[in-house]
C-alpha cells in the first residue's frame, strides 16, 4: 500500500522551528487519511497500522495515540473492529472500514489530491528556479 505522504522530509532545507512545527502539523493533519487509506480493503490490527504509517508514509505516531484515534474513528462510524485470536495465541483487535468510512476516504482522498496538486503547481516553479540559480552560481565558481 502506498500512502500519499512522502517518506522523505517535506522541507529538506528548512531547519527553523517554525518550519518544523508547520511540517508536524501537516503530517498530523494527514493521519486520519493515512489510517483510513491503510485500512482500505483489508483488516489490520494496531501494530500493522503503525507499520504502514511509519514505513509507507513516514508518519511517526506515539503508539498509544494511534489507539485513541482508532477509537474516535470507530465512534464516528468510520471503522469497525473485532477481537480475533489467531496463531500468535493472544487476541488482537482488528479494524476495517465501514461503508461510511469508504465514502469518507474517497472524499478525503479526492480533496487531498486536488489540494496537493494545486500547491505543487504553485511551489514547483519556485523550487526549479531556485535550483537553477544554485546550479548557475556553482558553474561560475
Amino acid at each position: 500500500m502506498q500512502c500519499m505522504v512522502s517518506k522523505a522530509p517535506i522541507l529538506t532545507e528548512a531547519q527553523g522551528t517554525n518550519a518544523d512545527r508547520w511540517e508536524a502539523q501537516l503530517r498530523k493533519g494527514t493521519l486520519e487519511l493515512a489510517i483510513l487509506a491503510g485500512l482500505h480493503n483489508q483488516k489490520l490490527y494496531g501494530l500493522q497500522i503503525l507499520r504502514i504509517l511509519e514505513e509507507d508514509c513516514g508518519l511517526e505516531v506515539l503508539e498509544g495515540t494511534l489507539y485513541l484515534i482508532l477509537n474516535r474513528l470507530r465512534s464516528n462510524g468510520l471503522v469497525e473492529s473485532e477481537w480475533i485470536t489467531a496463531g500468535s495465541g493472544h487476541p488482537r483487535k482488528y479494524y476495517w472500514l465501514t461503508s461510511k468510512g469508504e465514502t469518507h476516504l474517497q472524499t478525503m482522498g479526492l480533496a487531498w489530491m486536488q489540494f496537493s496538486a494545486r500547491i505543487t503547481d504553485l511551489v514547483a516553479p519556485i523550487l526549479r528556479k531556485e535550483a537553477q540559480h544554485v546550479h548557475s552560481a556553482k558553474g561560475k565558481h
Partner: protein, 237 residues
C-alpha cells in the same frame, strides 16, 4: 528468548486502568486489553524480552496517565453523545472544558441551558405552594421568571432575569426598586412546562452537536502528542 519482565508491564497496565476514572468498566477493560495486546505484539517482533526492550516499548506507548486522560475525555464525550441524561452530558463537557476554550464555552452555554430548564421546572413545582411569589415579573428594566420576595423597595428577584440590552442571568441581577408586575397569571404553568421541555431538548441537541463537530474531531490536541517533528525522539511536544 527470555521471559518479559511482567512486573513493569503489569504496572503500566494497572496505572493505565486506574487513571481511566469515570469510564464504564467494559470500555476501560477493552482499552487496557488492546494496549496489552499491542505490547505482546511488539515483544513478539522484538524477540528480545529484556528489561531495556520492555522499557522502550512502554515508553513508545506514552505516559499511561496522559494516555488515560485523553481516553477518558474521549469516552465521556462519546457517552455524552448517546445519552439524554443532563448529568452525563455535563460530566463529559466538564471534562472537555479542561482541554481548551472551545470545551469551556460549550460547557458554560450548556450549563445555562439546563439552568433555564431547572428554573422553569422549579417554578412549576413551587407555584402551587407560594403562588404570590412565583411568576413572570416585570420590574423597572428587568424581566424575571422565578421568585419575587414581595418587597417594592430593594426587592429581590431570583430566577432567569433579562435586563436589556445585554444582561441575561441565572440567579439575580441584584435588588431593584419600584413597582413589580406579574405578567402571565396561571399561564405560568404552560409557559414553564413548555420552557422546561424546550430547554432540555434544545440544550441536549446543541451540546451533542458541538461534541460531534468539535469535541471528537481528530485534530483536538492529544496528550501525549504525536511525535512527528523531524529529529524528535521523545513523546512529549
Amino acid at each position: 528468548m527470555s521471559t518479559p519482565p511482567k512486573v513493569s508491564i503489569d504496572q503500566y497496565l494497572a496505572a493505565l486502568s486506574k487513571a481511566c476514572k469515570g469510564v464504564q468498566t467494559a470500555a476501560r477493560d477493552e482499552f487496557v486489553q488492546e494496549i496489552h495486546s499491542h505490547i505482546l505484539d511488539r515483544l513478539e517482533v522484538e524477540g528480545d524480552h529484556s528489561e531495556a526492550v520492555v522499557s522502550r516499548i512502554l515508553s513508545a506507548l506514552g505516559d499511561p496517565k496522559a494516555l488515560a486522560k485523553q481516553f477518558t475525555t474521549d469516552a465521556l464525550l462519546q457517552r455524552a453523545t448517546r445519552t439524554t441524561s443532563p448529568w452525563l452530558i455535563l460530566r463529559g463537557l466538564a471534562r472537555w472544558s479542561t482541554a481548551g476554550i472551545a470545551g469551556l464555552l460549550v460547557f458554560i452555554a450548556t450549563l445555562f441551558g439546563y439552568g433555564l430548564a431547572a428554573v422553569c421546572f422549579l417554578c412549576l413545582i413551587l407555584k402551587p405552594f407560594i403562588p404570590d411569589h412565583i411568576g413572570l415579573w416585570l420590574s423597572p428594566n428587568t424581566l424575571t421568571l422565578g421568585y419575587w420576595d414581595g418587597h417594592l423597595v430593594n426587592s429581590f428577584l431570583v430566577g432567569t432575569s433579562l435586563r436589556p440590552p445585554i444582561f441575561c442571568v441565572l440567579g439575580t441581577l441584584g435588588p431593584t426598586n419600584g413597582l413589580v408586575h406579574e405578567l402571565v397569571g396561571v399561564w405560568i404553568y404552560a409557559i414553564c412546562a413548555v420552557g422546561a421541555g424546550l430547554s432540555l431538548v434544545a440544550t441536549r441537541l446543541f451540546a451533542q452537536w458541538m461534541i460531534r463537530q468539535f469535541g471528537l474531531k481528530k485534530d483536538r490536541p492529544t496528550n501525549p502528542s504525536p511525535r512527528m517533528m523531524r529529529g524528535q525522539s521523545g513523546y512529549a511536544d
